[in-house]
Symmetry: C2
Subunit: 352 residues, 2 copies
């Protein structure tokens, strides 16, 4: 699709140039260079037609002895003009969606797991924050200790709060009224991820190694594992939707979600719906200490964003929601660095 | 480069369509669809100009707090029209050069090494073939045993000869005169690969992880390791040339080859010529049992190719040189499968 499209576009532009359509802005020399470039760019024939390209692969692969390769016929331009098609094909050209060159062994959550391993003596798990209070020279946080069973109060000179805003909105606090209002009014998106264990039919039958098939409808996509290629089984993501699709889909009983995902996978990979086993589904908006996958500023970062990026007295907020890299660990890390650096400067100034 | 070029090309084609340059072949509805497609394809503004795209990255990356991303200005179309540039950029769109998704751990020669591991009881190393003779019902091969030191003669019903043609041309044989002529007249290419050990400055300073820099001049390219990312050292290919460049370059004393390669790398990565250590250079045309990297049919497979793909009596040739996948292990494997299958059919027919 990519190479045939580039070929067709190059042929059309070469034709238009030859007809003088761009004489207004180009010299004869410019035009000649541009046409020569298009010949290479689109793999055009010497007479500037796109007649297919081995860049797009072969109908019959080159072999041994008399078996020479047979080119594929190019896909008709009209078939390539579907807007839905290009949303999918160009997905990986989006800045944050470009193909990864490296991935953490075991998945993205191995990054926080590695922090935990180094820092676990300073981390208290099972600590459900119930109050965030301002003190004259510091902050008091009260949490319910889910292991010991009682409320515990701790104080510090400063606090960095990385609790997602929909959760934070439900915690008693001394935040200023505009700060409280900004926290309460910030909407998070919805997202559902649904996964199956399955034999790797996408590898053995379709030579798909990682990547995404975009499907129409509520489940949005099918995402193939990018690790442990050629193992007998793999984890297939059978749904990853957001927005209203995720809100409605996530409200269905899990059994219904599984049956809809299985049916879509079966349509995409005929006969393989029955291979899907052991499903799991997670609706981020229902995860108690998340209540949503990521912040969703309706029109990009706003006045609320700017306010919440300022400290309220000695309390600083940090997280992906306070960065321009929404929904990614990178945003959370950048935000953490920023806030730690601000506190450091504040302490130094106070000491100076 | 890729995204900015696509943007410029889309803008120009949209402009030409709006001016009616393609009215001859398109309906108004076609034109409308094509323009809408170009808007998405090239990331054009609503008024169909290419004003840059975050697909091409950012001048300043999106960060935390107030640090929103700042777009890059698009590269001027005139800078993008260099023909040499596109030979490099489109290199990986060539069918056999498309980016690999998988690579053998330890490199390509681990594949023959794995065959050796399974079959070594049937493989005789150090066997320098000196004669290939036809017998009434078979083949006799005489070889010089480089370990034991004497000539050894073996016979079999059939022989498959995978010796590269320039080496085979120097071996006494009973091949038919046209077969001998075809073997002797087939030219092989030249190729020199030169490698350095070096600290991975390309990773730490330039964020280059694998891939090739094409350089002008006799050394052709610099190729970065695609394995063991972020190790302290890596193997940098400082030259991989072919044809006349390789013939001349390979004839230089190694010390001169190293100094030329070091100087090119230093120009490409200023200051890092001095980091390059422990060079090795191999000119395939000088490797005694190769005498060239791969067959080079001047205008694609020829009458000689067709003849050598037929058996001469009970002797079959096989190898990359007898396939349409020249110079690749895949060609050798396909050729081997083909010949084994032909012998099998011949034996079955004879028995029937």
């Amino acid at each position: 699709m990519i190479n045939d499209t580039r070929g067709h576009v190059s042929e059309l532009l070469a034709k238009a140039i030859k007809r003088g359509a761009l004489d207004h802005e180009m010299t004869a020399a410019d035009k000649e260079r541009l046409v020569e470039f298009l010949r290479i760019y689109g793999d055009l024939s010497p007479d500037l037609f796109y007649k297919g390209s081995t860049r797009s692969g072969f109908r019959i692969f080159p072999g041994a002895g008399p078996e020479s390769g047979v080119s594929r016929d190019p896909i008709d331009m009209r078939l390539l003009l579907d807007e839905n098609l290009w949303t999918g094909v160009l997905f990986e050209d989006t800045f944050v969606m470009q193909a990864t060159m490296l991935q953490p062994v075991g998945g993205m959550d191995r990054i926080p797991a590695a922090f935990y391993k180094r820092m676990h003596s300073r981390i208290r798990l099972g600590a459900q924050v119930t109050e965030i209070r301002k003190l004259p020279d510091g902050v008091r946080v009260v949490y319910y200790d889910r292991t010991a069973g009682g409320p515990i109060s701790i104080t510090a000179a400063y606090a960095i709060v990385t609790i997602p805003l929909p959760v934070l909105a439900g915690i008693q606090s001394d935040f200023s009224p505009p700060f409280k209002h900004a926290i309460a009014s910030t909407a998070y998106d919805n997202a559902v991820k649904l996964a199956w264990q399955s034999p790797r039919f996408w590898e053995t039958e379709d030579q798909i190694y990682g990547g995404i098939s975009f499907v129409k409808g509520e489940t949005t996509l099918v995402w193939y594992p990018s690790d442990r290629f050629q193992n007998p089984n793999g984890i297939l993501l059978g749904c990853y939707n957001t927005g209203d699709d995720a809100k409605l889909f996530g409200a269905l009983p899990p059994a219904d979600q599984f049956s809809r995902s299985r049916s879509i996978v079966n349509e995409l990979h005929p006969g393989h719906g029955a291979d899907l086993l052991h499903p799991v589904t997670v609706a981020w908006q229902k995860v108690p200490f998340n209540l949503g996958p990521w912040v969703h500023w309706p029109e990009g970062p706003s006045a609320e964003y700017n306010l919440l990026n300022q400290p309220d007295d000695r309390i600083y907020l940090a997280g992906e929601h306070l960065s321009h890299v929404n929904g990614w660990q990178e945003g959370a890390v950048l935000s953490a660095h920023r806030v730690v650096s601000e506190i450091s400067q504040r302490v130094r100034s106070a000491q100076a």
